[in-house]
Every structure is written in C-alpha cells, then in structure tokens.
C-alpha cells in the first residue's frame, strides 16, 4: 500500500510533511509556498464541489487541488487523531 498523502487526510486533521514526491514546477511551487519536509499542515476544508482543498500551513491559508495534494507524503502528528489509511479518507 502507498504511503499516506495529503489527499486522503480528513478535514480537521493536522499532519506532518514527510516528502514531496513530484517534480518540476508544481513541486517547486508547493515547496515555495511553505509545504516543506517537516512542516505541519492542517486540513481546513474541501471546496463545495469536493475539490480543491484548503489547508493551513505556516500560519496562512493555502488551497491546492487533490491531484497535487497526492504528491505530498505525510504522517500523523498525534495518534489520537490518526487518519485512516489511503483510500478511506475524506471524499
């Protein structure tokens, strides 16, 4: 099974970024906006049509598409709020 990505984190959960998987422009942009290895990301909400998602990172709000969120490998910060493994996440 794939490692957990930001795409399947439930709304309301906070996770820690492990790695950015992609390449090129999108990866650079994601990192420039502050989603770097070790940063904490809080998933705030999904848009009314289910995509994109809104996250809080480094104290501000950022929106990104689920396709791009899939490039961000994450791990749970606290065991209490731990998220289900890939596939059962928020839709």
């Amino acid at each position: 099974m794939d490692a957990k990505t930001l795409k399947n984190v439930k709304v309301g959960d906070t996770v820690k970024v492990v790695r950015i998987i992609g390449v090129g422009a999108i990866k650079r942009r994601i990192m420039d906006m502050g989603i770097t290895k070790g940063s904490e990301v809080f998933v705030r909400k999904t848009a009314p049509f289910g995509d994109p998602i809104e996250v809080t990172v480094r104290g501000y709000e950022l929106s990104l598409r689920k396709d791009d969120a899939e490039m961000i490998a994450v791990e749970s910060v606290n065991s209490v709020n731990s998220v289900n493994s890939a596939g059962q996440g928020e839709r």
Partner: protein
C-alpha cells in the same frame, strides 16, 4: 542621476497600496516587454530623481512562473540601486522566504514590514533591531494603508542605495556550501563578487534558464552535475528541495528570535467570515448572490442606464439636466458643421464615422468603470481567490480557471467588459482560453437578432432564446475541451497552488486606482482600433459606384453591399447565400444589433422596430426555419463586434493570438451553422446529398477533436 528602487513582495502584502502611496499620481503603466503583465513605474512623491519600479507580486524567484522570471530578470539584468521588500507582518514566515532570496542578489535590500496595525492588534511584537541584524538588511515597520512609516522606508531604501550590499547572513548546511563554493570556482569566478552567490545557488538548483544565460558548456555542466549529485545523495533529497527546506528552516530560527506572538486560539474575524462564505452549503448560494449583484448593478441597471445615457443621450438625441434640454453631440456638431458649410461627405465622415465610432467606445466607459470597480473590490477584499476556489473543479475540466466564470457572466451583458475582466486570471493559458470563448455567450446586443429570427420564422417560440444561450454554453465547453488538447494550449500545466488571503476591507484609493487604470488602458489602446475600424466600415457602407461615378450612395449600392454580394456564395452551404443576409452579418461586425437595422434598409424600410417586425414577412419568404436558425447561430458564434475585437486584441497583446482567436470563432461558427443547415434540411424532408455527407464528416471530425487523447505534454502529466 536617477535612483531606481524596485518594489518587491508577495501578492496580498500591500504592495499596490504602498506603491500608490509612494508615487501618488505620478505613475506610468505599461507592459513588461512581450507579455501582458502590467509594469508600473512611478516617481517618488517629492523626489524627482527617485524612480520606483513595481515588480509583479511573487512568492519566490523560481524559473517556473512568468511573473517570477520577469522579476528576477529585472533584478539580475537591470540591477536597480536598491530593493524595497514589502512583507506582510501578519504572515512573516512565508513572506520572509522571498526576502532570503532577494538579499542574495547583491543589491541592497530594505525590508518594510507592513500591516503593523494588524500585527499590534493581534498582540504580536516584532523586534526590528534583531530582525535587521539577522537578515543583514534594514527592517522597519510600516502601515501602507495609513501611510505610517512609508516615508522612512523610502528614505532607508535611498540611503541603502549608496552603500554596497551586505553579504547575506544565512548560510546553508556544510555540504551545500561546499558544493556552492565549487560552482563559484568552476564557472562564476569572472563575474562580480556580489552576484556569484545568487548564480551559484541557481546553478545548484539546476535552473535551466540561468544555465543557458551563463552559457555553461557541457563538460563543465557534467562536472557540476557530479558535485550536485554527491550533495544530494548525502542530504537524501534533490537540490531544489534542499535549498527550499533550508531557507524555511532558517526563517523559523529568525522568527523564533524576533517575533513574540500572543497565544493564539480565538478565530480571527477573517476566519469567521470564511467559515460562512466557503461553507459547503452556503458557499454556492452566497456566490450566486454576489454574482447576481455584480451583474445586476454593472450590466442591467446602473451600467445600462449609464451606457444608454452616453449612447442615446450624449451621443444620440440629447439628454436632460435639471429640466434643461441638452442636445446630443451629433446635433451640436451637425449644426456647427452646417453653419460653416462643411462638405456633405466630410460631415458624414465626422458624424457617422468618427463621432459614432468614438461614441461607441465612450458608451462602454460608464459600464466598464462600474464593472472594474466591482472587480477591484472583489480582488482586494479577498473574495476573488475564493471564487477560484469554489469554481475550480468545474472550469478546469475545459482548460479554464475558476475565475473564468466572471468574464463569461459579464459577457452575457456585453462582451467588451467581459473580455477585459479576464485580467483577473493570472495564468496566461487560462486567460487566453477565456478570452477566445467568452463572446460565445449571447450578449445583450445579440438579443435583437434573436428576437428577429424567433419572431419572423418561429412565431416567437419560447425555446429560441434559451437555445441561443444553450448553444453559447455548449460552444464554450466544447471549445475548452477541444482547444485544451491542441498544441496551442498544451505544455506544462500551471499549478493551482493558491493563497487564500485573509478577508480585508479594501482601501478605497486602491479600488479607484485599479478601476481607472484598467478603463484607461482600454480607452487608449482599443479606442484607436475601434475608431479606425468604424471609419472603415462607415466608408464601405456609405460609398460606392453609382451612375455618376464613385461617390456617396445609399447602402444597397455601397462597397459593402458589393463585397457582400461577391462573397455571399460562401454562405450558400449555410442556407443563406443571398447578398442581404451576408451584408447584414457584415454590418453586425460594427455592432450586433445592426443586423436588424441592415435588414430593414436592405428590404426597403427606413426605420424598423428593435425586433425588426416590419421585415418579418420578407424574411419568411427568403428564409426557411432551418436556414434562419443557421443564420442565427452563425451570428452568435462568429467574430464579435469591432469593440469586442478591439478588447480581444488589447488583452491578447499579440497579433498572432488575436488572429487565432478570431479565426477560431469564425471557423467554428461556419461549421456549426453548416451542420445545422445540412442536417436540418435532411430531417425536414430533403434527400441525402453531398452537403449532408460533408456535414457528417465535419461532425465526425468534431467528435474526434473532442474525444481524442490530448497532445503529448499533457499526457505526460497524467502518467
């Protein structure tokens, strides 16, 4: 000697507010060479010899976005004397990320921490002395909105311009520094000392644009590549990620020392607004309401009163001011011209050509001002970003942006402001796609044409008007899907990683500046094109050969009518190959509502009602239901009026893209009308002929274009 200060900062950091406050009305707005991104420069208030250059709002200096490339090329090649870096004090962490890159350019930097009033309100404290110390550049607090500290910031930048740029304090980890030193030694030792570090970091990041610029030969690059690989293996990450992560790690340490935050917990006002505004259930109703208000005020009520006043009053029959009758410009000018015995043709040129042409442009201005006011308001209060957030899912499917919704909505009132409102779309490809397709939606000037056809041939059937909108929407969606797959629109997809800025009450001055700037740029550039085109069409429709030789004639004998007759065979496959409908469609290029009036003139009526009721009987004899619908669809989809084409030319800012857009619209209109006529004919009882076969072929091609696999570069992304 003029001191040049570049103003750099993140979007939403208050950069525009600061620029307006520093320069006042001494602004020159243009474009950066070769692109549609606005370049603003201005003289510092009270200092004739200080020029402020407003760089595009950027988050980083990566090679991947046009704005960032423009900004860094300006800094690296034009070498301004100082950089005034404005950062949002309520979001130091991400804003300082750009600062860490700016201080590496070898240009003196002054950091102005904006929104200090909001920072104080949050109960946060920033230690500026320490911040200046750690960043190796002067840092001070300002409030661009109230003007507090901005003079000091400008003075600090001027003072810094005299000094050599200090060496940046932050370093990277040992093995990165080691590699950077290698790079400097291998390729950069001939460059001035103060730019070596910037280039070394870019080469380490494998920045292709910089490598090409420095002309690094293949052997050296291979050698550098080896060094970079070694470092990457050691750090277990790629070079770009290493640099970015270390920058942020450094910023965390800076902030730890300089920023004291009050315990957070309570939601801010902005958070609370957002809870409602982008709520899963309320978001769409609120969005619909906001759009309704924008449309209602700028297109149907205030905007259309103002436009009617300008068109029918000032440039028409006259208007009333406190009971006094003020004649329209044509009447006043007409009297003057008659009184000085002006030649008939010259009078006609001035009144029917120039005044009508200028009037057509000016008529749009009130509507445009109102619309741009709303757009500026939506942008600066933070809601525009939420519109993109809400609508992205739908519009990205056909190659547009969530923000494409606004141009299309406005386009249903008038295509000109619709096209101009595409300005809010940052991504160039999404913007072009939106500009190309916006005018497919029937604008208010096309309504009389719909009324004419529906009344004359369909005895006013209820479905004709809705079907016109349906055709428009389908044309937009299908064009999006088809064009997205062509080479024109392929290429690396733009990342949709967008900041959702906190809601803020916009500064009135900024809203008005933006409103004026956009309207003025339209008046200047599109005005000249529209004016020339109107004069040309005026000439063609009022001059021609008669028994007395070349001269002023009635429209049926004019050059335009001749051209119409000469080219009318082109439209025979669409079912309306007579010269009258062809000429009517041609005059529609001036303004779509002209189609109705032209039919009136050509069929011998002097004046017709808006829906052309008088010509219905004649139309019934020369059109069939099918050919009439084909005529309608062609006029809905083909190239819009001259004013809208002027707007397209202005916004595309490229002759090539303008031609592509107009050609695409005309070809699509022709093919769709062709298929409608041929299939309609077949299903209403005519036999199968070569026309139907051709229509089948066109349909097959259309379906192929719609469902084929996308061109390569997009397919790669799907992997």
């Amino acid at each position: 000697m003029t001191i040049r200060i570049a103003l750099a900062g993140n979007p939403n950091s208050g950069k525009t507010t600061l620029f307006n406050a520093l320069t006042g009305s001494n602004q020159f707005v243009g474009n950066w060479p070769g692109v549609t991104i606005a370049k603003k420069e201005g003289k510092l208030k009270g200092a004739k010899d200080v020029l402020i250059v407003d760089l595009p709002g950027i988050y980083s200096l990566s090679p991947y976005s046009l704005e960032e490339v423009i900004a860094r090329d300006y800094l690296a090649d034009e070498r301004p004397d100082a950089i005034l870096n404005i950062i949002d004090g309520t979001n130091l962490e991400r804003n300082l990320f750009l600062t860490t890159q700016l201080v590496e350019m070898g240009i003196p930097v002054v950091t102005a921490v904006n929104m200090m009033d909001a920072v104080n309100k949050l109960g946060n404290r920033i230690d500026f002395e320490r911040l200046s110390e750690t960043l190796a550049c002067k840092a001070l607090g300002i409030s661009a909105l109230s003007g507090e500290g901005i003079v000091e910031a400008a003075e600090a930048a001027i003072a810094a311009a005299d000094q050599p740029a200090p060496t940046p304090r932050h370093g990277f980890s040992g093995s990165v520094e080691h590699t950077l030193a290698h790079i400097e030694e291998a390729v950069l030792h001939d460059l001035p000392d103060n730019v070596q570090r910037w280039y070394a970091i870019k080469l380490f990041e494998r920045d292709e644009k910089i490598a090409a610029k420095l002309n690094v030969d293949a052997a050296t690059r291979a050698h550098l590549e080896e060094d970079i690989r070694k470092c990457e293996t050691e750090m277990d990450d790629d070079s770009e990620s290493i640099i970015t992560s270390e920058r942020y790690a450094y910023i965390e340490s800076v902030i730890g020392g300089c920023l004291t935050t009050k315990k957070k917990g309570a939601l801010t006002v902005s958070d609370r607004i957002d809870l409602v505004v982008t709520n899963r259930f309320f978001a769409l109703p609120i969005f619909a309401f906001v759009m309704f208000v924008v449309y209602f005020v700028s297109v149907t009520t205030v905007g259309s009163y103002a436009t009617d006043w300008a068109n029918d009053g000032v440039f028409g029959k006259g208007w009333e001011l406190f009971g006094a009758r003020i004649p329209g410009v044509p009447a006043i000018l007409g009297e003057i011209l008659t009184s000085i015995d002006c030649a008939q043709w010259l009078q006609s040129l001035i009144l029917d050509g120039i005044v009508a042409g200028v009037g057509a442009v000016i008529g749009f201005i009130p509507q445009m001002l109102i619309l741009f006011f709303f757009l500026a308001f939506l942008e600066s209060c933070g809601y525009m970003a939420r519109i993109a957030f809400i609508m992205d899912r739908i519009f990205r499917k056909f190659g547009m942006s969530g923000k494409s919704f606004i141009p299309i909505l406005i386009g249903s009132g008038c295509g000109v402001p619709g096209i101009l409102s595409s300005r809010t779309i940052e991504n160039e490809r999404d913007r072009r796609m939106t500009i190309m397709t916006t005018t497919f939606i029937p604008c208010s000037a096309k309504l009389p044409v719909i009324a004419l056809i529906s009344g004359a041939l369909f005895s006013g059937a209820w479905w004709v008007a809705p079907s016109a909108y349906f055709v428009g929407i389908v044309a937009i969606v299908c064009s999006g899907v088809i064009l997205k797959k062509t080479r024109l629109f392929s290429g690396d997809p733009a990342p949709f990683v967008m900041e959702l800025p906190p809601y803020r009450w916009p500064a009135a001055r900024n809203v008005f500046f933006s409103m004026w700037e956009r309207s003025w740029s339209f008046m200047k550039k599109a005005g000249s094109i529209i004016l020339l085109s109107t004069i040309f069409v005026w000439f063609a429709s009022s001059f021609g050969w008669s028994n007395e030789g070349f001269g002023s004639v009635e429209m049926p004998n004019s050059l335009l009518a001749r051209v119409g007759s000469a080219v009318s065979w082109i439209f025979a496959p669409l079912g309306w190959g007579e010269w009258q409908p062809t000429v009517a469609a041609l005059t529609g290029l001036i303004a779509k509502e002209n189609v109705v009036g032209t039919f009136g003139i050509l069929y011998g009526f002097t004046e017709v009602a808006e829906d052309g009721e008088e010509v219905w009987a004649v139309l019934q004899s020369s059109f069939t239901v099918v050919s009439a619908y084909s005529f309608l669809v062609f006029n809905l989809l083909c190239a819009p009026c001259v004013a809208a084409m002027g707007a397209i030319r202005r916004e595309m800012n490229s002759a090539k893209w303008f031609s592509v857009a107009i050609a695409y619209q005309c070809v699509l209109a022709y093919l769709v009308a062709f298929c409608i006529y041929q299939f309609g004919k077949f299903f209403t009882g005519a036999g199968f002929d070569i026309g139907v076969a051709a229509a089948l072929a066109v349909t097959a091609f259309f379906l192929y274009a719609l469902f084929r696999a996308p061109t390569k570069s997009l397919a790669e992304r799907a992997d």
